[in-house]
């Protein structure tokens, strides 16, 4: 028969084992973003503070910053939508977008891309203004009410496929990291297109957000737009 001391030791060992098991089992839930964080190219802010400081105030200045990023490889445009640079961002940077106003982009969208590049090191974009750059499938003819096509003064939607080297499909931890960060400065009423959980998109988690609502989308990218709000980006500061 076991001695009291041996019983006590057994109980303590069992409790410690249970503790270790619980910690191991709980770890993935407690830190679901760890793999994406590891994949990101640089340490990133989870709330926009430094990266929201001295953001270019005008569309032209933001577009010029994006042209610099494009030149050094930190703004990557997918091949099918490669006209984004010559037809959209370059004319805004040059101040000649007035000649092709249907190719304009909302200032806040340009600023958001600048901030994303600052925070994660790079961004890959697959769609901005579809009037002037599209893949021939997702066009303003096929869906004229898309925020890639409205308003006529400058659509505000962006489709993002990578941040800092981490793939963003809208159903993954990198998308969750990005959405939480965007939620810290996008205006209330912004929207994200995320996978519905169908169409072989698998199981995914969605962070609770205060300023971004969701609609269902396919899991090839994370779609972000500013909805119908005309409010500026929040928490921008100058130093």
């Amino acid at each position: 028969m076991a001695t009291p001391r041996r019983r006590r030791r057994t109980i303590i060992r069992a409790a410690l084992l249970a503790l270790v098991c619980a910690m191991i089992a709980g770890l993935p839930l407690a830190a679901p973003d760890a793999p994406a964080t590891a994949a990101l190219a640089q340490p990133a802010e989870s709330v926009c503070v430094d990266t929201c400081t001295n953001v270019p105030a005008t569309a032209q200045a933001a577009a010029q910053s994006l042209m610099t990023s494009y030149g050094n490889g930190t703004l990557i445009i997918e091949w099918a939508e490669r006209a984004i640079i010559p037809a959209e961002i370059q004319p805004i940077a040059n101040g000649t977008i007035g000649q092709t106003p249907q190719c304009n982009i909302d200032t806040r969208t340009l600023q958001t891309l600048v901030i994303i590049i600052r925070n994660y090191g790079s961004v890959q974009v697959s769609d901005l203004n579809r009037h002037c750059a599209n893949d021939g499938v997702a066009t303003c003819g096929s869906n004229p009410t898309s925020r890639h096509c409205v308003p006529s003064s400058g659509p505000n939607a962006m489709d993002i496929t990578y941040i800092g080297g981490a793939r963003t499909r809208g159903n993954d931890s990198a998308s969750s990291i990005l959405l939480r960060f965007l939620d810290s400065f996008l205006p209330n009423g912004s929207r994200a297109g995320q996978a519905s959980g169908g169409d072989n998109c698998g199981v995914y988690s969605m962070p609770g957000l205060a300023n971004i609502s969701r609609f269902t989308d396919f899991c090839t990218h994370i779609h972000v737009d500013l909805g119908s709000t005309t409010a500026g980006l929040r928490n921008l500061r100058t130093r």
Partner: protein
Amino acid sequence: MVSPRAVRSALAVVLVVVALSGCAHAAPGATPTVSPTVHATATPSHQAGSASPSPTASPTAGASTSEPSAPADTAAGLAAAVRACQAIAGGFSAANVSAALAPAAEAAGNDPAWQPLSDDLTFIANNPIDPNTGEGPQKTVDDASAVADMCFSQAGVQVSQD
């Protein structure tokens, strides 16, 4: 016999385990969506209409133009609404919206809960966005979002807003 001290120690460890487990499950990344319109477990498009909530639960239902005394045929209404939503699944092109009008009207005729779907699609058809310039009423864009939400949450059909 187990000493009281051993029992207390074991209880303390168990409490720590329970607390840690609770913290893990409450982590922000694992929190379910607070989206007002979309639920992660909602019916995907390939199961259109098969397991969606009853259309009579529509939060936007109202302003019925059908006979007030006619009983709603929820099954027929849902079936027609699914057809309407499938017609615009790829987006709100003029052709898609045009094809959705008749089944949406049929859905509303069978069940007044689908009247907003029919009304919104009719407005979009009559007030389209110019696909070349993006010009058009803001209400058309907002109605398209409302239709897409209704199709997904109540008919189980995913309609593109991208």
